[in-house]
């Protein structure tokens, strides 16, 4: 990795301040590296050089005139292709949105650019963010830069790979059932899902509206905290965004962990957990204890039902959200004799296999005669899972779990059995259902050199505590366990 493309946010800022490099030169270096690495990794689907250089020139002009720079000035950023950027192709990894260019910017993009970040382009993902391996993209899978024969995780695989490979300093992903945290774990970098309602979703193309969240991938926890401070906050354009005040996330970093109670749910260390992942996460918990945390054994008895509840709720909401892709207003159309035939052909031929599977499942669980047995039941079980978290947070300050039960697997290894793929989401869907924040931080590597992730959950709007723990863990050598 050439020096500049390996920088963190403070390193970018220091280099710009010292005039060691201009923002324009920095962008050029990143595009050169993307040209070199992207043909293999397939992390980016579209680049936005015009917009990037225009923003870089603005930063350079501010530097030249001695203006105070905003917190993300000159920081190269990648944006998952489910987030709208005006005039830049936005496909959601789907053929059905081929050629679509949004007429407006998502609030997160506006906020980050206002803070000085430079959007380099749009990153690959599972189609409509449905998947755990990035193999469901209509534009081909992303390769994991740590081990290119393996998946980067999903659905935000392109964002994880871009940051891990030095093709961006930070990236935005989205998380509905683990789609930020699991690729963060697989690519060996910190990746955070904020609380539900913490970050505006205006301009995010919806998958499951009661679950979807936007959050950062970064090289360090501090960088993730810096990005979070820009992302978080009330947006009048998103009625689900919260007015809860936004603390300075970086301010809590470095505080002592002494006396913090970390909950270890026995229910998460059960059947299906890879033995090497278990050993690393156990060592990670040991490291947190050394840093002064007190380990508390807790029960989260409804964990075993989370995947079933999640796949009912997420697919039901998806079947409704994806009804808008009908070949009329945007994207692709396949002609048909009647309006209905046109809908059916467009949707049947332009959606990929996983999206169609989920639309069929979601429509089924919502259909007459099955609504109570599946959808309503799923929502009731969701209440119980949220209660597990509420009760746990009466006893502990944070909950520690593995991020994924398995290390990154080989491309093509798991595509034949969708249920098996769904079951591996067990540790991440729980927090998605409950609405709480969670981060994945690197926690050593397997004997084959594959990254393991440790997940830290906090109570709703407890991002500060989650980041404080993750930062201390990282600084104590968590990645080298």
């Amino acid at each position: 990795m050439s020096a500049a493309t390996a920088w963190t946010i403070p390193e970018v800022r220091a280099a710009l301040d010292a005039r060691k490099i201009s923002a324009r030169e920095l962008v050029k270096e990143f595009y050169a590296r993307i040209d070199q690495r992207n043909p293999e990794l397939n992390a980016y689907l579209a680049l936005s050089p015009e917009r990037a250089y225009a923003q870089a020139d603005k930063i350079d002009a501010a530097i030249a005139s001695g203006d105070a720079l905003p917190p993300l000035a000159g920081v190269p950023l990648a944006v998952k292709d489910v987030i709208s950027i005006r005039g830049i192709p936005t496909t959601c990894g789907s053929r059905i949105l081929e050629g679509y260019k949004p007429p407006y910017d998502a609030t997160v993009v506006t906020r980050l650019e206002h803070s000085g970040a430079i959007v380099l382009g749009k990153t690959n993902c599972d189609e409509f963010a449905m998947g755990s391996s990035n193999e469901n993209s209509a534009y081909g899978p992303v390769r994991n830069p740590v081990a290119t024969g393996r998946v980067p995780g999903g659905s935000s695989g392109g964002s994880g790979a871009a940051v891990a490979a030095g093709l961006a300093v930070v990236a935005l992903g989205t998380d509905t059932g683990g789609s930020i945290r699991q690729p963060g774990s697989f690519c060996g970098i910190p990746a955070m899902m904020p609380s539900y309602g913490r970050v505006s979703r205006y301009g995010l193309i919806a998958f499951a509206s009661s679950l979807d969240r936007i959050g950062p991938f970064a090289r360090t926890v501090r960088d993730a905290a810096t990005v979070m401070s820009t992302l978080a906050g009330r947006d009048p354009l998103d009625s689900t965004s919260s007015a809860t005040p936004v603390p300075d996330y970086a301010a809590a970093l470095g505080r002592s962990l002494t006396g913090l109670r970390i909950g270890i749910p026995d229910d998460y260390f059960a059947e299906g957990l890879d033995p090497e992942v278990r050993r690393k996460v156990e060592a990670g918990i040991g490291l947190l204890e050394k840093l002064g945390c007190r380990r508390v054994s807790i029960r989260m008895p409804n964990t075993d039902y989370a995947v079933a509840a999640y796949y009912i709720i997420a697919t039901a909401e998806a079947s409704s959200n994806l009804a808008r892709y009908d070949g009329v207003r945007y994207g692709a159309r396949v002609p048909g004799g009647t309006l209905i035939e046109m809908y059916q052909k467009t949707r049947g031929r332009k959606f990929g296999a996983e999206v169609k599977r989920r639309i069929v499942l979601g429509t089924y669980v919502l259909s007459a005669g099955y609504y109570d047995a599946y959808y309503l039941k799923g929502q009731k079980v969701r209440s119980l899972i949220a209660r597990d978290f509420r009760e746990a947070f009466e006893k502990v300050d944070a909950i520690i779990t593995p991020t994924s039960p398995v290390p990154p697997f080989k491309l093509g290894e798991r595509t034949s059995n969708p249920l098996e793929m769904y079951l591996a989401d067990i540790y991440t869907v729980t927090g998605s259902l409950a609405g709480v924040p969670g981060i994945s931080v690197p926690c050593g590597k397997t004997s084959e050199g594959l990254p393991v992730g440790l997940q830290i959950y906090g109570p709703a709007f407890g991002e500060q505590r989650v980041l404080q723990l993750a930062h201390a863990f990282e600084h104590a050598g968590g990645a080298e366990l």
Binding site: G99, K101, P103, Y104, S195, Y196, G197, S210, S239, T240, S242, A243, T244, D304, Y305, A308, A309, Y311, I312, S319, A323, D326, V328, R329, Y330, G331, R333, P335, G336, G337, T338, L339, E341, M342, Y343, Q344, K345, R347, G348, R349, F351, K356, R357, I359, V360, L361, T363, Y364, S367, Y374, G378, K380, V381, R382, S383, L384, Y422, L433, A460, F461
Partner: protein
């Protein structure tokens, strides 16, 4: 067997989704596995549990609805440019009303 070929076809029609015969068969089998797995939810008694329809924001002072004020967005041309078959100021679709 929880789900039949006819069930899949019925649901696909509800969702306006054209499926090939091979897809119908593949999805039938896979959905059968998934629905059988989901059955495990019946192990839990939820008779006194309220359904959770959304995550309630932690803050109670949210004014979740903004004022209803008309704002010009002026995006009609741009929006229509993205449509597969635009006609000036409209989206064109196959005929739905008989002469």
């Amino acid at each position: 067997m929880k789900i039949s070929r006819e069930d899949v076809l019925k649901v696909a029609a509800l969702a306006n989704l054209e499926l090939t015969d091979a897809e119908v068969e593949t999805y039938r089998g896979q959905l059968d596995d998934i629905l059988t797995y989901i059955e495990k939810l019946n192990e839990i008694d939820t008779s006194n549990i309220e359904p959770m329809t959304q995550v309630v924001a932690a803050s109670t002072d949210d004014s979740t609805l903004r004022d209803d004020v008309v704002v010009r967005s002026d995006v009609i041309t741009e929006v229509l440019r993205g449509a597969p078959d635009p006609a000036p100021l409209y989206f064109r679709v196959p005929r739905v009303i008989e002469k």
